[in-house]
Each structure stands twice: as C-alpha cells, then as structure tokens.
C-alpha cells in the first residue's frame, strides 16, 4: 500500500484517498470551440511519466494536488490546490450573447 502525503493530514495509506484525474485547465466554456470543449471533457493526456493530478482525502474531503510518475507509481510531491489555482474563476457570457 502506497503512502500519500496529504498536505492537510500528513502521510496516510493511499486507500484513504480518492483519485481525481489529471489537472487540466478548463477552456472558456462560452468562447472555446466544440472541439476544444470535447477535448476538455473527454480526452486524456494519459501521460506515461510525471503528471499533476487531483487527490481527495476521503475522510476529510480535502482536495489537493500531487505529482506522480505513472510509470513507476512514485509520488514526487504534494501540495494544496491553491498553489496552482491562485485566483478566483469567473464565467462570463460573451458580449454579443449577453445582449440578446
């Protein structure tokens, strides 16, 4: 059983965590093309190597980010999501739409 070091709860058995997939950036849903949105929703980098991914400590429901090598399962580091997502996300309707 691997140990995953939760930034909030410290090192715990990986069984206590839920995987959230690779960290990807949401394109602007109101401006991106259909293909870009489809890519975001369905397609996977599925990288064989070091990836940045979401993990949630199930007992505390704390989400954070880990860097892990998917070929060896080695976990390189973990840190709070706030280190990547530093600013508030807002969504806006493009101007031409909002008028109508």
């Amino acid at each position: 059983m691997k140990i995953l070091n939760c930034p909030l709860n410290g090192p715990r058995n990986i069984q206590e965590f839920v995987w959230g997939g690779e960290v990807t950036e949401m394109p602007d849903p109101n401006r991106c093309t259909v293909a870009e949105w489809g890519d975001y929703v369905f397609l996977e980098n599925n990288t064989r190597g070091v990836i940045r991914e979401w993990w949630c400590h199930a007992a505390t429901n704390y989400w954070f980010i880990a860097e892990r090598d998917t070929s060896t399962d080695e976990i390189l580091k973990t840190y709070p999501a706030g280190e990547v997502f530093t600013v508030r996300t807002d969504f806006e309707v493009p101007e031409e739409d909002s008028k109508g």
Partner: protein, 967 residues
C-alpha cells in the same frame, strides 16, 4: 509401526521425546512426537510416499522438507493442499492423500504414467475439440482428473482477523544473516520486527552446521531476546511485499499488515533439484532436506544413500548422513576436479568412494515406484551427457546437492528483478527495490561468517537509514562464498524420459524442448504452454532448470536471462486470512428501531437501511397500497434521514449553487425551497434535491441517498479550482428527517408545540422555516414529493426518535401511519416525479428527462452546460421520458421492459404501477421523441415477449394542478 527411523539425541532439535502424539494418515495409525511436523512424523515412521503427482499419479516423497514444494501436499480434514512438512503435528491429527483415485497406495490413475508419450506438452490443445461440442464431454473428465485437494462445501467461514504493525526495520528471515541483522539493528534502539517461518530461530544454523551451528543460533536468539525494541514474529510467514514496504505477514489466523521504514531481506535460498530419469520418486531428495530431517527432527532419511553433488555442500551432507547412521555408498561429484573442502578429505580418508566427473544418471524404482532401489551412476562426457556405460549402485536414497536459487520472490513483488549470472550459474538479485537491504544466501552469500557480517551490516545500515542513532559501522563482510555453489548444468536428459523439470506439473525435459520447437521460445511463453512454474510451488524448484533448458533449446543462451515475473503471494494465502472479519459498515437512521418494531421490511440504500414497507412479505402489495391510500386520505410519515444534507454557506453561496446545479439560485428568496438538478461534465443527469435558502449566504441542500457523497466531493473539488468564498459541509449524518404527508398533516403538527406559523398564508408551499417543535430545533420544508400537503422535518439526529414518537402520538387521532419507500415510489409516480438512477441512466440529459424547465437558460455556466448546448445543436433528441397509462386489464409491466418501435429498441419503461388514486396503471417510459405527445401510443414488450400498447399521458397523473400539495 515403530519409530525405527528416529535418531537418538543430539539429533532432533525440534522434537520433545517425552510427548508422544498419535495421528492417522491414509487411514493408518502412527505415532509421532511433539515438535514433529506431519511430514517428519511420517518420515520417522518410514513412510516415504506422501502424494501422487498431478498428471501421471506417480508416487512422490519429500523434496525440500521445508514447505517449499508441493510433493508433500495432503488433505487435512476440510483443508485441501496442506504441506505435510509444515503441518504441525497434534494429537489425533488425521490427514489423507489428495488427488488419488482409491488410495495413495493403490491409485487407480497410476496407469496414466504409461501413457505419457501420448500426452505430449500441451496435449489438451491438440485434441478433445472435434466434433464441435466434444470439449463439453472431455472437460468433465479432465476437470475431475485435474485439481488437487477437495474443497468441502460445508467448511465454515471460520474466524480470521487482522492487525497493523509498524517497524523501523523489518528483518525477513531468522537464519544467520537475519538474526545478525535484527541484533545489530536492535542495538541502535530502532523498533525492529524479525519474521521467521520456523518456530525456532536459527535457519540453516540449526541443520547445516552441526552442533556448533545450533549453539550459535541459540546464542544469537538469546542475545536478541534482551532487546525490548525487537519483536520476533514466529512462526509467521511474510507472503507479500508491496509498495512503500507494506508487508503481508500471516501468523495463526491473523494477517498482519506491517509498515516498515526499512526492510532487510534475509529469506535465504532454496536448494535446486537435479534432473535425471526418475528424479521425482520418493527417495530422491535434496541435501538440505536430509539435513533438516536429521538435525531438526532426528529422522534417519534412509539406509543406503548415493550422494550426487556439484559443490562442497554435498560433502557436508554426506558427513551428516554418515553421522546419522546412513551408509553412503558413493559420492558422485559432477565436477571434474577433486573437492578441496575439509569434509571431502575426511570422507576420502575414511575410504568413502568419491567419483569426480560422475553423475547419477537414473534412479531405479523399486516395485510400484514407491521408492528407489538403486542409482545408475555414470561418467560425464559433455553438458548433460554421459558415457552410457554406467554402473548401478543399490540404495534407497539419492541425495543431491547442485546449487540454490535465491528466495527473492518477495523482492520481486515490489519491483525487484533477478537475472542469471554466468559467473555463479545462478539467479542473482539484479534490480533491487529502494529502502531495502539484502543479506545471506538470498543474495548468494553462502559463507557463514560472511553472511553473519553481511547481516550485521544490513541491520546497521537499515537502522541508520530509518533514522536511528547508530554506533560504529560493523566490520565489512569477507568473501561471500558465492562461487562454486551452483553446478552449471545438473540436467541429464534420458531417452526414456521421466526426467522431471517441474514436479508440480509433471513436466519433463522433452516437454520444455518440444515447447520451444512449437515456437514457445520465450521463457514466459514456454511457461504458459508447458505450465512449468505455474503449479503451487510457483517455479521455486523448476525456474532455474527450465530457464537453462529453454534458453539452450532456443539458442539464445542462458546468459543474462531473467526469471518469469514473480507475483505475490510468496506462498499461497487462504481466502479467510485475506478476508479477515469482513467489515461492511451499516448506517442506521435515528428511527431505525421504530421501523423494525413496526414490522418494516428493510431494504438497502447504499450503506443505509430503509423501510420498504410495513408488514409481512406475503402481503407486500396490499401493504404498499394501504400505506399509499393512508397518505392520500389521512396522513403518513416516512423516514427521509438517508437523504443527503449539505450546508452551502458564504458570500458566494448562490453563485456556487448556480454553477453546481442546472437551475438558477441567485434570485431564490430566503425562506423558500427550489428544486435542484445536477448534470455532470458530459451533461448527464446525476443528482437532484432541493435547495432551501435560510439566509442570503446560507443554503441547506438535499441530495439523493446514493449521490450525496459524490455531490459533496464534486462541490469541494470544483471549488478547489474556482476559489469562491463558500464553505460546504456534509451534514447528512447530523440530521434525521421525516416527511409527514397527507391532508391531515397540518393538523398533526398543530397539535404539537410548534413555534412556527403553519397556516397556508404564513407558511406556503415551497416555504422553508427554522423553529422548534416540542422544544426540538427543526428545519421545516414544505416540499411535496408525494403530492399532498406535507412537511419535511429535519432535526438533530439525536432527537429523531423522540420527535418521531411525538408525531406518531399526536397523529394517532388523524390516522397517521408510517409509510415506506415502496409506497413513496408509487405516490411520486402518480405525481410524475422522477427518481434519479431509476428514471434516468448514465447518459440521460435534462432534455431527455423532459426537465428543461429546471435548466437555467441565461446563466453563463453550470457544470454540463456547454456539453448540453453542443448536443442540442448537434442532433435531435433520440428519446424522451413520458408518462403513460395502460388499460386497467393490462398486466403491470416490470420496470426496464423495452419500448419497441418497428423492431428497434427506442426506450424502456422506467417506472410502472397500478394506482388506486389514478384509477389504473400509470408509468414512465422513454419513447421516440416524435411519440412523446400525450395521446399517442407506443409498444411495450413484456418479459414474456407479448406486446401491449400504452398511451402517452401528461404528468402529473394525480392532481395535475397541484392543489393538494399547496393547501
């Protein structure tokens, strides 16, 4: 039978001669001694044959005498496949042979050995399949012949449990290297756990090094016992080594899960068999096995022995045999040069016949092959070749000593690898896992002093790496003594065959060679085709020789070749050990006991139990109907505690709700509830509920019983990205809740001490309030899943039962009765409310569920929005959920029967029931969009294949204007 094979003291370290134990094997009674294994007790009684082989039913005897082969497999009561040489003898123990037709002595399947030439490698691929269907006949026969022990279908689950252990340093193996490692690590004050399979520490010290070895083992063990920080776990077996030093250790009926900062693997090695004709018969045995018999159990393994050796160990073995009163007829040494060890000199001086450059070429079976009567010895003329002018020596024992294979399987479980070393003619550790050290013969360290020193250094280094304060580094080990241990080619194929490479699977030299000829040149492919290494001993005794043979036959050469991948467990683990005491959490609501008292039939809802209906199973439908009728006419009460409850609070609470759910919540008024629908990123409907706004910044959100954990997790996940000022708490377990519904529900509440205005004006439909009932703080929601005047009451779980009782008491005069999930399903169906997961599936969109009314059109974003927009633009709907009715004389279609158009499946019935309130059968179904118009009809195909015609009806079926719920 007498114990005539028992040796006097000092032989027999393990046995207690003062305690005699009676036991039965194959229906015969024997006696053994305390400390015996079943195997040693049988050997002490002169029993040589303990099993029959898998395929040819050839007699088999002891091979490793260390539980590392399956020649010693027996049936022990209801436990199949038990190793006799590991089974601790107890008084009255009874065991029998397995995989025999008749008895071990007279196995009717023994004739199969005569047909071996007709059973070539992979013979079962080559026949049994024509004509079509033939395999169905043959398989039955082959299945009966295959398999080893019998599984008793009456075996009880039994008690097994689990425990966790933690160590700075875990040492696996209590032989010289392991003992020394544990001692050195112990001296540093580190927490040390030493695991050994034997009841007595010492490993090879106890059997391979005479009295002096045993003395050293005792000394080391005694010294180790002085350290409080060292725990010895024995007899215990480490069966798996997983990521980050997570070890599976089985002791008794317990599975320990041990987390070690550092591991020292000192698991030793397993002596490898020779390959020659009849090398599998009882009486052909490994040198280390006879040493174990003699020293540990005081058993004389035979009377006349031929020793065949490829290293100096064979001479020690020969000396041990002589010490135990076994006549050694000759030693054949595979090597051309004379042995230089002290023992060889001594034996030669005593006049023992030693033949260099000679091998045992064949074992001569005694009548019935239940043992051997002689050995054909011959001079070696080339790799695996002999002169052909051999000599037969009478003997009842052939003891071989030609090398070892590391017991490094555990290391391979967590990423280590072994490869063949040309210099050593042995497998050696190649890639090694991190946070681990290796000592002793597992790392081809065969010199005793070097192994002890290597152990000490490993223990010291492991403790140091684990963070312990260490003293001076122990002395560096001397030469490992790895060279000259493994003879390069101890394989002497015989034209008549029966030269076994894998005893588990009855595979011989030609089977391996023929597999390569069939194209299975890679060792992994050879293994799968021949099944060499796939039997219960997992190649421990066959990997080395089969890799040598395969790589010779395929011309690649053995140099640098690897073993096949070694997988856990190291030795078989019982399901019971792995299962332990199955813990499946159950969740009970605060009112659970009231439901049980009221005779409810409970049903599973995730981890929860919910009342399905109240009454006997035989009266199911009548109960459901009566409960529904009581809600429609009087008042009913249903436990809704299992529904999810989430608190969404903060300045951005409404914005957050807008993003998580499809509808709009920014303008939702305080004190009001609003329906919730959630879609996922792909636009599929995944959950629903209601949002109650208790203040500008505070929503109380319900979710489905099965969905709440996922919803909560998704909310936190999204906000980890969005960084909105909002806090979400899952309060599902903190609140109990029940819904009181029916025309009399207000009257019931009014009877109670309630500090809220309950009038229709003061507390209208879809209103939400906080207040107290009978002093209990409650949240009151005027929502109506069942379509009657009703209140959902949420209260601290600790007060749930009390308030339930108060309401029941107050409602008695109005005819209040509890109702269950089944009645609720009927009532909501009459109102046309969907159940997520029943009326939707993994791909249903809001449009398909006909719920676009709950999707905000003007919001810039909600999860799934863009995907839904894309789908709406890309193509017309393919199905749509509608209400339908059926004529009263129709059968009620089962949920999930199909809706067929032409011959095409266009949808399915998701819900259907006979409704008293609606005066007929009502249901919901997915139909072709062009048919989703009230009045149109469509085809339902019933389970029996009959079609019925249903008519699309507008929903709700019951009280379409909603007057009853808005009273």
């Amino acid at each position: 039978m007498t114990t005539s094979h028992r040796l006097p003291e000092p032989f027999g370290l393990y046995i207690d001669r003062s305690r005699t134990l009676g036991f039965d094997f194959e229906g015969r009674h024997y006696s053994g001694l305390a400390g015996d294994s079943l195997g040693s007790a049988l050997a002490a009684n002169g029993v040589k044959m303990v099993s029959r082989s898998f395929k040819y039913h050839r007699p088999r005897g002891f091979l490793t005498f260390a539980g590392l082969d399956c020649n010693s497999y027996v049936q022990f009561g209801d436990e199949p496949n038990v190793q006799a040489d590991r089974l601790v003898l107890t008084d009255g123990l009874s065991a029998s042979a397995l995989n025999v037709s008749g008895s071990l002595e007279n196995d009717r399947d023994a004739y199969l050995g005569h047909f071996s030439r007709f059973l070539p490698v992979g013979f079962y691929y080559k026949t049994f399949f024509r004509p079509k269907g033939a395999w169905a006949y043959w398989e039955k026969i082959i299945r009966r012949k295959a398999g080893l022990g019998n599984v008793d279908k009456k075996t009880p689950h039994g008690y097994y449990d689990k425990a966790y252990l933690f160590a700075d340093v875990c040492v696996i193996g209590g032989g010289p290297a392991g003992l020394s490692a544990a001692l050195e690590a112990g001296k540093t004050g580190a927490e040390v756990i030493l695991i050994d399979e034997e009841a007595r520490l010492g490993g090879s010290l106890n059997y391979a090094f005479g009295a002096g070895g045993q003395e050293r083992a005792s000394k080391l063990a005694a010294e180790l016992a002085k350290f409080d920080n060292v725990t010895v776990l024995n007899p215990a077996l480490c069966t798996g080594w997983f990521a980050d030093n997570w070890l599976a250790v089985i002791q008794g009926n317990r599975l320990y899960k041990l987390r070690a900062k550092q591991v020292v693997l000192a698991s030793g090695s397993v002596e490898q068999p020779m390959v020659f004709r009849n090398n599998d018969l009882p009486g052909v045995i490994l040198g280390s096995a006879v040493q174990r018999m003699i020293r540990l159990y005081g058993v004389r393994p035979g009377s006349r022995a031929v020793v065949c050796t490829g290293n100096d160990h064979g001479y020690r073995v020969a000396q041990d045999l002589r010490d135990a009163g076994v006549e050694v007829v000759a030693i054949t040494d595979l090597r051309n040069e004379e042995a230089k060890c002290v023992e060889a000199g001594a034996l030669a001086a005593q006049g023992l016949r030693i033949l260099s450059g000679h091998t045992v070429y064949e074992a001569i079976p005694e009548r019935g092959k239940r043992g051997i009567s002689g050995a054909v010895i011959d001079s070696i003329t080339g790799e695996g070749e002999v002169s052909g002018s051999g000599e037969t020596l009478a003997c009842d024992l052939i003891v071989t000593s030609v090398g070892y294979a590391p017991l490094a399987q555990l290391m391979c479980h967590c990423g280590g690898r072994m490869k063949y070393s040309d210099a050593l003619h042995a497998f050696e550790l190649d890639e090694r896992p991190k946070d681990a050290f290796f000592a002793g013969s597992v790392d081809n360290g065969f010199d005793l002093e070097a192994a002890l020193a290597e152990g000490a250094q490993s223990g010291w280094s492991a403790a140091k790496t684990a963070g312990a304060k260490v003293g001076k580094e122990p002395a560096k080990p001397g030469a490992k003594g790895a060279e000259g241990i493994n003879y390069p080619w101890p394989i002497f194929p015989h034209p008549e065959g029966k030269d076994f490479v894998d005893f588990d699977e009855d595979q011989t030299v030609k089977d391996v060679i023929n597999a390569v000829a069939d194209g299975f040149e890679d060792v992994e492919l050879m293994k799968r085709y021949t099944t060499v290494g796939m039997g219960p001993s997992q190649g421990r005794n066959s990997a080395l020789n089969s890799v040598r043979l395969t790589n010779k036959a395929n011309g690649r050469g053995v140099s640098g070749s690897t073993t096949t991948t070694q997988r856990p467990p190291f030795k078989p683990e019982s399901f019971g050990h792995l299962a332990g005491r199955s813990f499946d959490p159950e969740r009970l609501t605060a009112m659970h006991h009231r439901h049980v008292e009221a005779g409810a039939q409970m049903m599973l809802a995730g981890a929860w139990y919910r009342p399905a209906y109240y009454g006997r199973k035989a009266d199911r439908l009548a109960c459901i109907e009566a409960e529904a009728r009581n809600v429609r006419n009087n008042v009913g009460m249903i436990d809704v505690s299992t529904l999810g409850g989430l608190e969404v609070r903060g300045p951005d609470a409404a914005e957050f709700m807008n993003r998580m759910y499809t509808w709009a919540y920014k303008k939702q008024k305080v004190g009001r509830a609003r329906y919730l629908l959630m879609s996922d990123q792909t636009g599929a409907v995944v959950d629903d509920g209601v949002a109650c706004r208790f203040s500008e910044q505070e929503f109380y959100v319900t979710a489905t019983t099965g969905g709440v954990d996922g919803v909560y997790r998704a909310m936190l996940r999204w906000n980890a990205e969005w960084r909105l000022k909002v806090d979400v708490a899952n309060v599902t377990g903190a609140y109990a809740g029940f819904n009181i519904a029916g025309p009399n529900s207000r009257k019931v509440l009014e009877k109670l001490d309630c500090d809220m205005d309950l009038t229709a004006e003061g507390f209208p439909y879809m209103g939400v309030r906080e207040g107290r009932i009978a002093g209990i703080p409650v949240r009151l929601l005027r929502v109506g899943f069942v379509g009657e005047l009703g209140y959902e009451i949420h209260m601290p779980a600790s007060c749930g039962e009390a308030l339930w009782d108060l309401v029941m008491e107050a409602g008695a005069e109005f005819g209040i009765k509890p109702f269950g999930v089944e009645a609720q399903r009927l009532l909501r169906l009459e109102k046309g409310h969907i159940i997520i997961g029943q009326d939707t599936d993994g791909l249903t969109t809001p449009a398909e569920a006909d719920m676009l009314w709950a999707v905000g059109k003007k919001k810039p974003f909600f999860i799934g929005k863009r995907s839904l927009d894309i789908m709406a633009e890309a193509r017309p709907l393919e199905r749509k959920l509608v209400g339908f009715t059926l004529p009263g004389d129709s059968p009620v279609p089962e949920e999930c029967v199909l809706v067929i158009k032409g011959d095409r499946i266009v949808g399915r019935v998701t819900s259907a029931a006979r409704s008293e309130a609606c005066g007929g059968i009502v249901g919901m179904a997915y139909v072709a969009p062009e048919d989703a118009v009230p009045g149109k009809s469509f085809n339902i195909k019933l389970e029996d294949g009959a079609y019925i015609y249903a008519t699309v009806a507008s929903i709700p079926f019951y009280d379409p204007d909603g007057k009853r719920q808005e009273l």
